[in-house]
């Protein structure tokens, strides 16, 4: 009976890991000589305690969740999309270009943002399928290159002449994402992210494509032998996931920052990967993203209030994931999970060198 509700196991293990990271929090607080209570208080105060804080956390959840989905979707097929950050930034640039240069609507900007994100993933996909280059390294390299490209555009051709430093024109009011509900102060993008998570969950569970993707992840050659177009399925998964990350960039631009400036971005792509791993499935990604976002917003407040460097937040975010990995790999968890549909963590990992052909 519990097997049918195996998500209970996942949530339970994730909760244990988050609890363990509280222990780590205590240790780190001792290290820097600050009381754990004040750190915890500052974290919660900055992320959840007021309506403003909660809205800020929810705003931060959106890009993290979308990037988490961007990592998770092709992950089931054995493809590591580490390029979320670059795809996000490309999407942001495309959105601002669509709105301020071409003069399009907000919706068109979001569509273009998604397209830009997908375009960024094309080189990595091609290099993997045609040249056998591991996508892990290529997506990371593309990230750096895209980030520099965005900076070059922002400081150069797309710069707002009236501004002192490198920043684009502001998004016109008509294209900005509306705040809804007004009481909470959260923009439309957050709901878009939630809808995307539900959509991906539905696709994975209820469509033929989702089934093919899972088959591809379980055993690529068996899937091919069964008549599944593995290259096409993988390509679609990668491009859709990159589009989601690009959408995240568009949402940030249209809903939160309203312009692209030097130093505007935060590592949503990377934190998104953490959310994807901790979440395990699209709905879990939303939950994990919320927690990680709370750590982000709480961390900033913590640095201001207690002087503890906000870099500690990175450790607090990574620690639960690494613990979760460890716990999932223990014999108990593996036996439990093996009784149900194969997950990538249980399935035999394919040697990196042989992954492609």
């Amino acid at each position: 009976m519990l097997l049918r509700h195996r998500w209970i196991l996942s949530v339970g293990v994730a909760a244990i890991c988050l609890g363990a990271s509280l222990v780590a929090l205590w240790l780190l607080a001792q290290l820097v000589g600050v009381s754990t209570a004040s750190v915890l208080h500052a974290l919660i105060e900055g992320s959840l305690a007021s309506r403003q804080a909660l809205a800020s956390t929810l705003r931060e959840t959106a890009p993290i969740a979308l990037c988490g989905l961007a990592f998770l979707l092709p992950f089931r097929a054995g493809f590591f999309n580490i390029g979320g950050q670059g795809q996000l930034e490309a999407g942001a640039l495309a959105a601002i270009a669509a709105v301020s240069v071409i003069g399009g609507t907000g919706t068109a900007a979001l569509v273009l943002a998604a397209g830009a994100g997908a375009a960024v993933a094309v080189p990595a996909l091609v290099l993997k399928t045609q040249r056998g280059a591991s996508e892990v390294t290529t997506t990371i390299m593309i990230n750096f290159a895209v980030i520099e490209l965005v900076l070059a555009m922002v400081a150069g051709p797309m710069k707002d002449p009236a501004a002192f430093f490198g920043t684009t024109h502001a998004v016109p009011d008509a294209a900005r994402l509306p705040v809804m509900p007004a009481a909470l102060g959260v923009h439309l993008g957050v709901w878009v992210a939630l809808a995307a998570a539900i959509g991906v969950h539905w696709v994975q569970r209820r469509t033929l494509f989702g089934f093919h993707l899972a088959a591809l992840g379980g055993n690529r050659e068996a899937a091919r032998a069964a008549g599944i177009h593995v290259d096409r399925v993988l390509a679609i998964a990668v491009l859709v996931s990159a589009a989601l990350a690009g959408l995240a960039g568009g949402i940030q631009v249209l809903g939160v920052v309203h312009r692209v400036a030097e130093g505007w971005s935060r590592p949503w792509g990377f934190v998104g990967i953490l959310a994807g791993l901790l979440g395990g499935n699209p709905l879990g990604v939303v939950g994990a993203s919320f927690v990680l976002a709370a750590l982000e917003t709480g961390g900033r407040h913590m640095q201001a209030m207690t002087g503890v460097p906000s870099a500690m937040v990175y450790v607090l975010q990574a620690l639960p994931v690494i613990l979760y990995l460890g716990l999932r790999a223990t014999p108990v968890a593996r036996r439990w999970a093996a009784g149900v549909a194969p997950s990538l963590i249980v399935a035999r990992p394919v040697a990196i060198g042989r992954a492609v052909r």
């Binding site: 780190l28 990371i140 490209l149 953490l274 460097p309 975010q317 790999a329 223990t330 394919v350 040697a351």
Partner: protein, 309 residues
């Protein structure tokens, strides 16, 4: 050749070789780890942590050598985590490697900020006296580049040579290579595969930690949270470009150092190219090389797959 131009070229080559030493050493260590069959993507985090700990050790003791040792210790500490998660518990190696990056960065940054809290201005580490080789250092351009470097630079070069020799010419090196190609054969002969993999991971991260400390304590001599600027990621890519051979990796790292140097010089020359695009040159070049050579490179046969008896 005019003396100032000589100095300029020499300075540029020093810049390039500095980059090559740090990245090449990390890549050599990563090559050892990967040859044993373990993929470690977290070298950026290990380098950052090594840089932070090395910097603090050098400040506290006043000696750059202590800083180097601190870097090695930091690398070993993170390596212990990585080895446990990859070789003992056998979790997915791509992920647990990636996780080292925020952990290494966060811990390193925290430690430095905590110890430097309230300092009036950012502290700097005193440079080591350069090794002046009597006649050779007077050779016009190459002299200062090759024979007037800090002792730690020579140590780094010696380490790369040692790693290359170790992998190719010792029995232990051969066992490590076998662990990544055919662990079943080793197991069949009663050799502990996991033991060698564990050691290989530690070796890789120790070297990366040293490289990070080299950057902080010898080359830049100050601390900045993002001071490695992607060197760790480039090192991971260079392992593939260098076909998992330490000397090839070092050579590739040198070529990249030259690319970086060219980009820097072009910036100074005020060529009308946006400097951000130039900053992306190392990464784009890496991509191009990966695309060109990627198909031919044969990684270790069981790279990334934990060995289960």
């Amino acid at each position: 050749m005019d003396a100032t131009i000589q100095q300029l070229v020499a300075g540029m080559l020093v810049f390039a070789t500095n980059f090559a030493l740090v990245v090449g050493l990390t890549a050599a260590g990563a090559a050892v780890t990967e040859r044993a069959g373990v993929l470690n993507l977290g070298h950026e985090g290990v380098m950052l942590f090594g840089a932070a700990v090395g910097f603090l050790a050098a400040l506290a003791s006043g000696s750059a050598w202590a800083g180097a040792l601190g870097g090695v210790a930091a690398g070993l500490a993170l390596g212990l985590v990585k080895a446990t998660w990859s070789v003992l518990i056998k979790t997915e190696q791509v992920i647990n490697g990636l996780l080292l990056v925020p952990i290494g960065f966060g811990l390193g940054n925290m430690l430095v900020k905590h110890h430097l809290a309230g300092a009036a201005e950012p502290p700097r580490v005193a440079p080591l006296a350069p090794l002046d080789v009597p006649f050779l250092q007077d050779i016009p351009v190459l002299g200062p580049v090759l024979f007037q470097r800090s002792p730690l630079a020579y140590v780094a070069l010696a380490l790369i040579a040692a790693v290359a020799w170790f992998l190719a010419r010792t029995r232990m090196g051969m066992t490590i290579r076998a662990a990544g190609e055919s662990p079943e054969t080793l197991d069949f002969n009663g050799v502990g595969v996991d033991r060698y993999r564990f050691a290989a991971v530690l070796a890789g991260t120790a070297l990366a930690g040293f490289a990070g400390a080299l950057l902080a304590v010898d080359q830049l001599r100050l601390y900045h949270p993002a001071m490695t600027a992607g060197r760790g990621w480039i090192a991971v890519a260079i392992v593939i470009v260098g076909r998992w051979r330490p000397w090839s990796c070092a050579l590739a790292a040198l070529l990249f150092g030259v690319t970086d140097m060219v980009q820097f010089q072009v910036q100074i020359e005020a060529v009308p190219v946006p400097y951000e695009l130039l900053l992306s040159l190392p990464y784009v070049t890496t991509l191009a090389v990966l695309a060109w050579r990627g198909a031919g490179a044969q990684p270790p046969a069981v790279l990334g797959v934990p060995y289960r008896r």
